[in-house]
Amino acid sequence: MLSIESLSAEREDRLLFSGVSATLSAGEGMHVIGRNGSGKTTLLRIICGLTAQASGHISWNGEDVCSHREAFLSDLLYLGHKNANKTELSCYENLRLTMGLEMASEEVLSEALRNVGLGMMAHLPARFLSEGQQRRLSMARLLLSKAKLWVLDEPYTALDYKAIDWLDQLLEKHMENNGLLILTSHQTLTFSSPVQELDLGKQYV
């Protein structure tokens, strides 16, 4: 259960947004929308604690995320604009390393890669992958993660329509299993699960 209270962010004394409040309960999703530069990425980074907010509080299961950071982080999965792949490692190794702490087994990993359509190139260095394939690789993490809260920044970028469908189903399933989802995207989403819209364009003072 994530709750955001009157969050505000400023850059170089310029107020990006202010008074952003929202609560997200299990099985719900939040679609952050807004014009380019309205502060979507910033908001997501603040939620993850990568950027400092100017004011406001964020609490996870009723506990402030700054004071109970580790508990929060163990429930969190963040995928940003950059898709955290080591270009010199093969897809398989990339996945194993990022998922290292969960200790996923060989089959599970290869299965995940096959699911995102990288089965054939599991042992190709990531630098050779096309944009979309890179994106697919970082999305493969979603398959393995046990995190309750997924924070995705424009996940659909560079994906072809099949991959997009696949991702949609995955997110749907995550929410059906009482997972929480926060994502930004300029596309319009079609989920059957409850997804609230948070429009930063409006806040943009």
């Binding site: 993850c48 604690g49 990568l50 950027t51 400092a52 580790e70 982080l73 163990s74 969190l76 963040y78 940003g80 604009h81 950059k82 898709n83 955290a84 792949n85 080591k86 270009t87 010199e88 490692l89 190794e93 390393l97 990022t98 290292g100 702490l101 200790m103």
Partner: protein, 222 residues
């Protein structure tokens, strides 16, 4: 917990091992740097012998700085650094592990190679021993301190030079300790003082630098 850290360690090792050329690179740079002294300065054996400790230490210092350049920069560029900051493990431990791994990859080879260099400069066994020991105790300090500078400058386009500029004042005492220890042996003076000081420096930086690095990273990632 400790298992997780071990995995993390392996991750870094794997990463490095994957670009074996890195180890080669650092080693090569070290060799080159050392080789430059006889080539550039003098070939007079006596003078070389006197220069040896300083020369080798300076070379080691440069290679450390060079390797530091890549400690965080790539991870920042490809987004893995963010992911690490978001790992549920205590960040200081994570960083400590990474630094240890970094040292094992980039500095240990130098330490192991230094005796050969010592021979090249005509040091005798005892001096070589001391040289290697000082490097063994000194290079970790260089890495630990250097990580602070690297974290402060990560993502800046002008890392290389700036890092060195930031770090030299921190490095000078270590450099002095290390090289003067060997010179002391040459003059048959005791080196216990040097080693105890080096040990103190090592312990201190081991204890403090992870926190410093974590803070610096938070600042620069913000």
């Amino acid at each position: 917990m400790s298992r997780a850290l071990w995995i993390l360690f392996c991750r870094d090792m794997a990463l490095f091992m994957h670009r074996k050329q890195d180890v080669v690179t650092v080693l090569g740079f070290f060799l080159v740097a050392v080789a430059l002294f006889p080539l550039g300065i003098t070939s007079d054996p006596e003078m070389l012998r006197n220069m040896a400790p300083g020369a080798i230490w300076i070379a080691a210092l440069f290679s450390t700085v060079l390797a530091l350049d890549r400690l965080f920069s790539e991870d920042l560029a490809d987004g893995t650094l963010e992911q690490q900051m978001l790992s549920p493990l205590p960040i200081t431990l994570v960083l400590l592990v990474r630094l240890v791994a970094h040292w094992v990859i980039t500095s240990l080879p130098i330490v192991l190679l230094s005796p050969v260099m010592g021979l090249q400069f005509g040091l005798d066994i005892e001096e070589i021993w001391v040289l290697t020991l000082t490097l063994l105790m000194g290079t970790p300090v260089l890495v630990l301190l250097g990580a602070i500078g690297a974290a402060l400058t990560v993502g800046l386009k002008s890392s290389g030079g700036l890092v060195t500029l930031l770090l030299l004042p921190l490095y000078v005492p270590i450099l002095i300790l290390g090289s003067s220890a060997v010179s002391a042996v040459m003059l048959d003076m005791s080196v216990t003082a040097h080693f105890s000081l080096l040990g103190a420096a090592l312990a201190l930086s081991l204890a403090l630098s992870p926190y410093a690095v974590a803070t610096a990273l938070r600042i620069t990632l913000d």
